[in-house]
Symmetry: D2
Subunit: 309 residues, 4 copies
């Protein structure tokens, strides 16, 4: 297939990311290519070798997937076009016939560990944990005999000839991972009414209270911030950029106005896209923040300029 | 002369307002008509019987001239086109031959009183004060013999056949009265680079913190507020509108942006004009608030919409 | 009577101020002394010649009574102990036998004029207005024959041998004047649960955004501001102090905390008293702002200091 | 040795954490016990089996060490007593005699990877990366022959019989890891004048603009925030707590006042300690925020209550 019909994803096969990607209808007609890292999945898109990449960006237990946040904040610009929410539940995969009592070593991706910590403490308190490069890779290492059991999605069992000894393991109720489908910059899809907009902002460093000011750009237009995460810029301890998701679409006047304000008040802003919310929740608008309110205000200012205020 | 060449002013002749009006170059070619009150001076403009009206609006000792603030805030809209600053110093006007020791009664406009209070206490502690309808009217009442002396501008002496017994009386150094030339709404004069913009705002009453929000509309665009005065709306104790002067001209992008924000976040806004500052002081702009910054931000948002962000 | 049982008030007799003062139960046992101005009424208190002074401070149509605001903001400190609200309605007082058609001149206090302006325009459009030193003084001038009619409280008719030709004149519904009983500084009366606290604040002039900061001191403790008025400090155009009333009593922890914040963030603050609200309305408290919340927070910080956080 | 003289740390031996711990003078007289995870290192302290634990908390390239942030935010309270800053530079450790050209597989801790990514791409573009449980563990795996090379601290070479083939590898200049010495809650050490205070805050979820409010608690007392990181609370996507470091010590009045404000305005606050800054930088105080200013403000409020304001 051509690059235009190719999607990369954070591999290997059998991970939650693949499961999330396959939940998208268009995935059925795409070539799905697992990559060894978020960086390589995204670089394939940057290089034009793929039309999109599905990568995890947020996990309700572990927080931001920092590799994704940092890759989107630097290098050649990319844009988010879709988000996918996937409930997180692990299966404990073992070679057929293995019983719980014989498990001495377990493996899994480092972000899986905190989500199964309590379960491990309760059921396998003696088992040693070692990290694998991915949950699927952990399954492979169990297949190869290097570990006794791996935490992974149940869907990975068949791929690696394993069986799920325990299902639906998750320390936290409602654990969800959020994935995004990333592509090269283009015109965002039309607003659906339940949209989300993502940006990265670098504050003016010579400016105390700069974070407060920037948050006011959102609040003064009634635009609700849904996620804010600080990430080090690599310029030294205490230097951050902020990754933010807010309600609404760039074509909503209030969101465009926020972005104009951010562009002026920040050292730098990177627009990461406006895209449909996976949960399809529509925002509650505050008085004075509808498109009509913005249009009326702009008209009024024009009338004042014309002496007809 | 035609109404188009007529200016009204807060009379009578011989007041500071007339002196302020005559300081305007165009006054030389206008018919200058004294009126009995701010309201009648402005109503003549509203009715098309005069092209402009000069009225006091602020006094560095007494604060806002409330009649002017309230007249501009209500009724048919008017606009400010010029401001004039006039240092305030009173002369004590007496009938020729009167000495200080024989002064038992003094008069003057109520707003004059606090500006000569200390002088009175020091030099005429026994004299009784009665208010006159205007400083010039006080001079007339002295001419008629009703009072012994009047505080007024020295320029009023000749008009009323009086002489200045003491000159340059003012309790406060740097006392200044600010006058505005008001006309019917029209396109504001072009920006000079040292401009002022005036508005009246009515907050959304169902909204605590509304004043804070509105002040943020100014501060977030780096627009310096030069004057803020609350005025009762007449809807009951505790209900106010706010009369505000800020730096800059409606054609400055940052000011237009503030006004758009006010229009959205307030119950009502009335634009009272953009006009040259009498002191010709140019604003110091904060980073991100020049016209260029606004244009660049709008361009960037447009590029984001087009997929070229 | 001794000074301890004497109250001064803004005279002369027959004004609304006297009526407000007489509405206080303790007035019955006090010697009530009219004074010619707010300043002299207050100075008598400062000098120990009276225990209290009743003066107007706010008018729902005209706004702050600037003489009172300025007197309280400067000179030897005074404190407010009570407030009185008095509905404003004027009677048109005439010499017995005078009819509406024969009234050519009317008088009254300057603050009365805007409250009867519409009535005058409708019923006596030709009558000339001249200001009197007080409403009562206007009545006296009618008695003396200098004017045909005076706007004053109906209660003033008897004092000056006049009769009310028209009653209950007021352009605005719900017009109210607020008076305050002022004394020398002492311990405020105990909280009633429906209290008001008044302060005057001078912002640090070298500090842009200073007004915003100061408003945050109130909002961050959930203390509702009921009145804010800017007053010129007399240091030049553009230099203001702010006179503020807020809900609550200095003994409420949230109010004390606001005042501590103001004291630190302002150039100067003057405490003008905590006293019962005339309308007896109790505040709605926001979460985290009760006395119990403040005590719990202080206790917690102490526990943290002790290593028991 | 007794638990009182035992420090645990994120092991195994030979990691940067051990190097950071050994930089503390008191480490010389303590028993230093490597643990397999941040959680187990801290749990030993909670259980009274060790007096302290040294764990990484922040990395200028990778941001917060989420395991540490989350452990400190939950479970039985712990407190930070010291911080250590350690410049990050990796050595590429190999078995003696190995040359760069023969390296096919490399390993290291997942947080090492982004710090050596560029170096790898430039010098070993073909080498496969697999994550190890720690940098030291990676060294052990090289010793055992499972991988060809490991990124680790140069100090780890001797422990594992390896040699540093390349030294001082770090993609980013000034990369630093910050470690904290954690113990059970006790009275914080006395202020040094260059201190830091750490807290975790959970916002009131029913309250839009809550983050803005909380940031104002800091800014209104002139307390500079040095780090803010959002962490998911595990209650679902979009639910965060905020981990914050600010300048100053709990015994500084301005910091105690911030904490009182946070306690009132947040759903929950956890105090994580006041301790000396490793960089020994003293804060620049804003006007009105010294201990003297707080004392003076409290005294003034007390005087107001006593009628001597």
């Amino acid at each position: 297939m051509s690059p235009a019909s190719r999607y990369t994803y954070l591999g290997p096969e059998g991970t939650f990311t693949e499961a999330a990607l396959r939940s998208l209808p268009e995935a059925a007609t795409r070539e799905l290519v697992p990559m060894v890292s978020v960086a390589t999945a995204l670089d394939a898109v940057r290089a034009g070798e793929a039309a999109g990449a599905l990568v995890p960006i947020e996990n309700s237990v572990e927080g931001g997937v920092t590799a994704t946040l940092d890759e989107l904040a630097s290098g050649r610009p990319l844009m988010i076009y879709r988000e996918v929410l996937l409930p997180i539940a692990f299966a404990l995969l073992v070679r057929p016939g293995t019983g719980l009592e014989s498990i001495k070593t377990v493996t899994g991706h480092p972000v899986a560990q905190p989500q199964v910590r309590k379960w491990l403490a309760a059921h396998l308190p003696e088992a040693g944990w070692e990290s694998a490069a991915s949950n699927a890779d952990g399954a492979r290492l169990v297949q190869e005999g290097r570990y006794d059991a791996a935490f992974a999605g149940e869907f990975a069992a068949a791929t690696y000839g394993l069986e799920p000894l325990v299902r639906d393991i998750h320390d936290t109720e409602n654990a969800v991972t959020r994935f995004v489908l990333v592509g090269r910059p283009a015109r965002p899809a039309a607003p659906t009414g339940a949209d989300k907009t993502s940006v990265v902002m670098w504050l003016r460093t010579d400016h105390p209270g700069a974070l407060l000011e920037v948050l006011h750009e959102f609040s003064s237009r009634g635009v609700n911030m849904m996620r804010i995460e600080s990430r080090p810029t690599g310029e030294g301890i205490g230097r951050y950029c902020f990754s933010v998701d807010c309600e609404g679409h760039l074509q909503d006047r209030r969101v465009a106005d926020v972005l104009m304000g951010l562009r002026r008040s920040c050292r730098e802003v990177r627009f990461l896209g406006s895209y449909p919310r996976a949960d399809e929740v529509r925002p509650t608008l505050e008085p004075g923040t509808t498109d009509g309110d913005f249009t009326a205000a702009a008209d009024w200012v024009q009338r004042c300029m014309d002496g007809r205020g």
